[in-house]
Amino acid sequence: MSTVTSGSPPSDAQLVARCRAGDDDAWRVLVERFSRYVYAIVVQAFRFREHDAEDVYQDVFIRMYERLDQLREDDAVRPWLAQLTRRVCLDRLRAGARIELADDEMPYVETEDALDRIDEAVAVHELLATLPEHCREILDRFFARDESYRTIGEALELPPGTIASRISRCLAKLREELEGRSDVGQPSGEQVMR
């Protein structure tokens, strides 16, 4: 069954409702929407290496799928998922290091800082999503995907000289957008730029 259609992207709450109804396409969209967030928490905040990181990443989505019915507010997916991801990471740390940790105890001070930074990054990426397509794509390719000018040029059929200037213009545009908003990035009601 599939109910995800083109047009404006469905809200988190709509996707959750469709997932509960057995819509596999909605699940795929939901996973894609939160994939980077989970990945960043696992790899940057908790610093799991690749093999463990992959297990933890998959485990987060398995638990998410199994527990979607327990989500109390369908539009508050991100904070719920953040908590779920932290719990899976801590479980993995406990299992690996045989250490005793309370559920809300962070193993490293820098983990908390990293989580703050990830939340800021999410807010910036959500703002990025409001920019025109040519800006979204080039900024994401260059910064988040770490693609070279050459790779970007080939993919977007742009001469290398144009890429640098477009990145610069788009970054400036993103900054202008950011300065125009004080409540940036709060689709799930929890993202606050610090």
Binding site: D24, Y65, E120
Partner: protein, 84 residues
Amino acid sequence: MTEINEERLAELLRALPPAPEAWLRAAQELAPARRTLDEIVTRAEADARFRQALLADLESALAAEGYEPPPGVVDALRERLRSA
């Protein structure tokens, strides 16, 4: 929002790279895979002959019934059949 210059913006854009494509795809296929798994387990609980066939040779029994689940589902199924 305060003190966000373009250098900081660039840093925050870099802070959210995509997960490896294979990880994303595997997570996206989780829902249909789980549904297949549940379907097979439910059938095995109701059909003793099917259950015996699964226990004897899981991969062959699945193929004979037209199931083509990914490796992760086969492993999970084996685990559930053992613990049942």
